[in-house]
């Protein structure tokens, strides 16, 4: 009796140890290095708290394209952030949300987010991981509660397994959902436009592009600073308030009247694809934007000091600037199969334009 018991205990102990060792190896996700394009600064995102892994990125991508994150299943992150528009709402001034509602702002393109400290046009969100919570829960966007999203994901065996591969066990919580989403969107690095190739010495500008770049460096770079083509600041550029949107911009966050109608300087990367322009998408073409700066803008008491006399631009300059801005379109990024809906990399069909 005693002998048999001892043998059993030995067997159990060996199994337990073997299990311990195996579990540890089996569930370790594969690390993925974050490549910083040559000459770019260190990212501001804290990768130590959320290290990139193959499994984490894959899970984030699946979540990004999953309509179940919305109340009625129609609105994934990807429905308003479309790859062919550099992850903006392509050709939409405002995006379409739950129950035939419109958003109040233009959905910006998503790229190079690892270098961005604050999010939204007013900078109200202070961490990339927190960003998805706003569209998920806003009544005019995805209109869902975090509890319901977690419930839906927990009910799906596929997700339980993917959370385990990415994070070590089947726990599904707010932090893991948002960290996985961050991992995916952090991989959306746009650094392969013609401009980038020229800077790396692999290509050359044609004459209008070259002239445009010179004008750009004289008149635009103090706000649209290279290499991100934004200095991430908030400025009043003479955009009057829309009487229906009543959007005060940065003032809504800081409560300071000096911040009235200030909005984040948008990146100009992929600007050829991210129309309409402006925080509420009021400009449908680059030409309209140039007209705003040189003629129609309203100079207010807190309009940016660089724009006190508007921004004088000749027709010639506008032409050359446009040629330069088109070199910022990163066609590698716009078609990168790693960034489309899961499974689309094996698909020859053109991307589905799914805007509900």
């Amino acid at each position: 009796m005693k002998m048999r018991a001892t043998i059993w205990i030995m067997i159990l102990l060996v199994l337990a140890c073997a299990g311990w060792v195996n579990v540890d190896n089996y569930f370790r996700p594969t690390p993925v290095a974050f490549n910083i394009p040559k000459g770019w600064p260190q990212p501001v995102y804290d990768f130590k708290s959320n290290p990139l892994t193959r499994e984490g990125i894959a899970l984030g991508r699946e979540l990004f394209y999953d309509g179940r994150l919305s109340k009625d299943g129609n609105f994934s992150c990807g429905s308003c952030h479309q790859q062919f528009g550099a992850f903006n709402s392509y050709d939409h001034n405002l995006s379409h949300g739950f129950n035939n509602s419109l958003t109040t702002r233009n959905a910006p393109g998503l790229f190079n987010l690892a270098w961005q400290k604050e999010f939204m046009w007013d900078g109200g969100i202070n961490h990339l991981d927190l960003q998805p919570l706003a569209p998920m829960t806003a009544a005019n966007e995805m209109a869902e509660t975090i509890e319901n999203i977690i419930r839906k994901l927990k009910a799906d065996k596929n997700y339980r397994q993917k959370f385990r591969s990415a994070f070590g066990d089947e726990t599904i919580n707010t932090q893991r959902i948002t960290r996985a989403l961050s991992q995916f969107v952090l991989t959306l690095v746009s650094s392969n436009s013609k401009y980038d190739r020229v800077m790396r010495g692999e290509d050359t500008f044609i004459l209008p592009e070259k002239l445009g770049y010179e004008i750009f460096k004289k008149k635009c770079t103090s706000c649209h600073t290279e290499p991100f083509f934004t200095d991430f600041s908030y400025r009043n550029t003479g955009l009057t308030s829309d009487p229906y949107l009543k959007d005060d911009g940065r003032m809504k966050i800081t409560g300071k009247s000096a911040d009235s109608l200030k909005f984040r300087v948008p990146s100009l990367r992929n600007v050829g694809r991210t129309f309409p322009y402006g925080h509420d998408g009021r400009f449908f073409s680059l030409l309209q934007v140039f007209e705003h700066y040189r003629k129609t803008m309203t100079v207010m008491p807190n309009t940016d000091s660089l724009l006190r006399n508007r921004l004088p631009l000749s027709n010639f300059e506008i032409g050359q600037l446009t040629a330069f801005l088109y070199t910022l379109t990163d066609s590698v990024f716009l078609k990168d199969p790693r960034f489309g809906p899961p499974g689309s990399e094996n698909n020859d069909k053109p991307p589905v334009d799914f805007h509900p």
């Binding site: 969100i125 927190l130 706003a134």
Partner: protein, 234 residues
Amino acid sequence: MKLIASMFCLLLLAGWRSPEPGGIVLRFENRAGNEVLIPGNTYVLRNGDTVTPYRFKYYISRIKAVSGDGRSVSLSDEHYLIDAADSASQVIALKDPGFPVAMISFVIGVDSIRNVSGVQTGALDPLHGMFWTWNSGYVMAKLEGSSPASHIAGRQFTYHVGGYRDENNTTRTVQLHLPDGMNQQNITVIADINAWFSGKNKIRISSTPVCHSPGELAMQLADNYSTMFSIARP
């Protein structure tokens, strides 16, 4: 067989966490005046307004014990969300300070670092409805309900108090002296919602039914509710 049985017993014992001997149990009792606050019930405030609170929640953190001679020891690094609708949330088991306690101190609110470090877990998980998604930061304390004094839709009042940045920082430190000779291990802290309205700042539901962003009003409410606590006398 005996051996296996005793091993199981050992395992069970190892897994069982008994309350630490000498540890402090802090209970929060939410009240409206002398009555225990139960969400959905109606109360008359000291300022004469009638209210039916339906949500009352607040964060407690940095709980410390201070001895008669001024020694101070941290009793927990955790944040706790006290919810009037969840009795389990109102009891906090803490460690043994190792000396007779003269004063308990805690912060009502969430550390600024947790407001800027992405998505947190546990009591700080944004799904508890105590987080502003559009202007990142925690709602430190929340009091919602209805009142005939309110002139907005649904005769509601909704006070969501938050803000962690310098001049709008709504965290408040509360210090409560323990009366002499009271039980040191079972301390009941009373939180009276009257202070929200009748503290240093007079807040009337009729004129100010809503607070939903950091700023002056949130600071006034935070000053007010920082005085809502008292130690229940045995």
